[in-house]
Symmetry: C2
Subunit: 363 residues, 2 copies
């Protein structure tokens, strides 16, 4: 689908503040992103005095509207504190543009916990969702080059109905974000045998077997940590504690290997020469493993699309993340997920909720 | 410490059956391991008819005693089934050599779940231990090249007193297995802030702050998945579900990177030439990342040392794993851990046990 073919305008709400590299990196990323997307318009939330000169320097400045916000969410702010006192922040303001229908998606590189708490408060959970989730792309051996893992850390826990919802939401994301017709969904466990794992996993296993048709995915059963980057599965479902540990362990392992590789190519004159000869291939390799390409966790299970860009995003990685927000907005992703989630609920009706469930009053 | 300097004999009990590659790989591994260790003697458990010709071909055959066992634990056998019916298996027999005091350590490349269940049943838990753990070595940026992670999958859950015990046992293993005087212990969590994570983690955090002196380690606080291969910490403590997922995710990521590297060097004539030039450095790199070097999970918290070698162990990796068993046996590792665990108990006396605790009647 070519951008702008249908004459529609796609409006994205951007929190310009709160990233480690400041608003200059965000605005530079906007410039990269917008130059090939004539139908994109931006609502840019933050300090007007800071943003005005940055935006004025961009060729696409006419498609950017600055909306002033006095305050900024800091990386050290506790989510609960921001929910109580953050009304004047650029993050709050950016989310309210989606809440009010002025924008189709919101993006921020600020504090993840605060963004999830504010998103849940301002946009509300989608019908049937108790725990929203963060979905992230993971480099893999599949043709698209990526798998999707969720929850990557929105909530510490997930019971069986939550995991079922994650499967529905993750499969929707795979269809819309990776163009996969019938994505394969796996449930992360410590073994692939049916009798293994915690009670909520065995219960979720049964739910997924029944619900796969309605969810428009194929359930491949339990998968293990080693399958996350494999081509056996497209969507990996787990609770936010396990997902977050897995994500960071994968990143840490890739960093370790990268360091060993650099050491390797620096060993002696022959290996240095080899590094020069392999320059093109090495560049491609680095590109494949570049965490900036997979930048952007997508919040699922809310009445609106929210993308979290990495706190240390530079212009390139911010452009990648906002492209994701734009693609999902163009596809009417929020509405598509909501339609699927409505089906998911029918599989868990009458099912007992676990004792440790979050307060569902807000759902 | 040179092998055999003190004239002592180190007896290791070996389960010859049950690995994917069969007893030939185990016996070949024994040959590699024993040739430089004149003080090592082996009790080799399995089918006499199969083992006799294999052993007869080894120069070290005089130091190997075959002990016949009719039966073999299969990879597909459920642990509970083996505990009830596995008396005639080579695994059971190998463990009983340690139980009876005939050997100082036991090693097997069979079914992990069955080995843990049988080890717990035959050797019993050490005093004060409710949940034994599997500790594994993880390639890292530390000078030794390794960090220790536990529990890598013995039990799905761990409460605060379990995590405290893991810290004591892991620190002992770091002192004895990595020669670290005062190892640094970290608790795996989804953030490093004190208020983050599950209740049992915050409780364990407090216990570790108090107990670090008595445990002979430095507690560095919460660590994240990305820190597992780092030089910020030597021992990473977590529950068996999370540890198993992290371990397999790390292995999967390393495999993905390895595949991408191979593809990279095969891209074109220049990169192929580069691969030839970098041959020595690449070989060193492969050696560093070779999972066979870190083969061997050690079971901690039992009255005896048990090493689990990988199911697909070849001769090289089996030799590496049995060397670990030998080193720990020489050091009197079981007794040293037991002495530490006795101190650990004093920190959790009067502490409430969580509702989901395992049956401690067997402790």
């Amino acid at each position: 689908m070519g951008a702008g073919d249908d004459g529609r305008e796609i409006v994205i709400s951007v929190d310009a503040m709160g990233g480690d590299k400041g608003p200059a990196a965000v605005v530079a990323g906007l410039g990269l992103f917008m130059k090939d997307r004539a139908d994109a318009r931006i609502l840019l939330h933050g300090d007007t005095a800071t943003l005005t000169p940055l935006v004025a320097a961009l060729p696409v400045k006419d498609r950017i509207t600055i909306i002033h916000a006095d305050d900024v969410v800091q990386m050290t702010d506790k989510p609960a504190h921001i929910v109580r006192t953050g009304k004047a922040t650029s993050m709050w303001s950016a989310l309210d543009s989606v809440r009010d229908g002025a924008a189709a998606a919101c993006i921020s590189c600020g504090n993840t916990g605060a963004l999830m708490a504010l998103s849940t408060m301002r946009l509300r959970r989608a019908v049937g969702v108790k725990r929203p989730a963060i979905a992230c792309m993971w480099p893999s051996l599949n043709p698209s080059g990526f798998n999707i893992l969720l929850d990557a850390g929105a909530d510490l826990k997930a019971d069986a109905p939550d995991l079922l919802n994650y499967a529905f939401m993750g499969a929707s994301y795979a269809r819309n974000g990776l163009n996969l017709e019938g994505p394969r969904v796996g449930l992360l466990n410590v073994g692939t045998e049916e009798h293994k794992g915690r009670a909520e996993l065995r219960e979720a296993h049964e739910l997924l077997l029944q619900a796969q048709g309605a969810g428009g995915f194929t359930y491949v059963g339990f998968v293990e940590g080693g399958d996350i980057p494999s081509d056996k599965v497209d969507v990996i479902v787990t609770d936010g504690f396990t997902g977050n540990v897995a994500l960071k362990t994968g990143e840490g392992t890739a960093r370790l290997v990268g360091k060993m590789l650099r050491d390797m190519f620096g060993t002696n004159i022959l290996s240095k020469l080899a590094a020069i000869l392999a320059y093109g291939a090495l560049k491609k390799f680095r590109h494949q493993m570049d965490p900036r390409r997979v930048n952007g966790g997508v919040f699922l299970g809310l009445n609106g699309t929210v993308v979290k860009s990495h706190g240390s995003s530079d212009a390139t990685s911010f452009a990648a993340a906002i492209s994701q927000a734009y693609d999902l907005a163009r596809m009417g992703f929020t509405e598509r997920v909501a339609a699927r989630l409505a089906t998911s609920a029918s599989f868990t009706q009458g099912l007992e909720q676990s004792d440790d469930s979050a307060d569902p009053a807000d759902a």
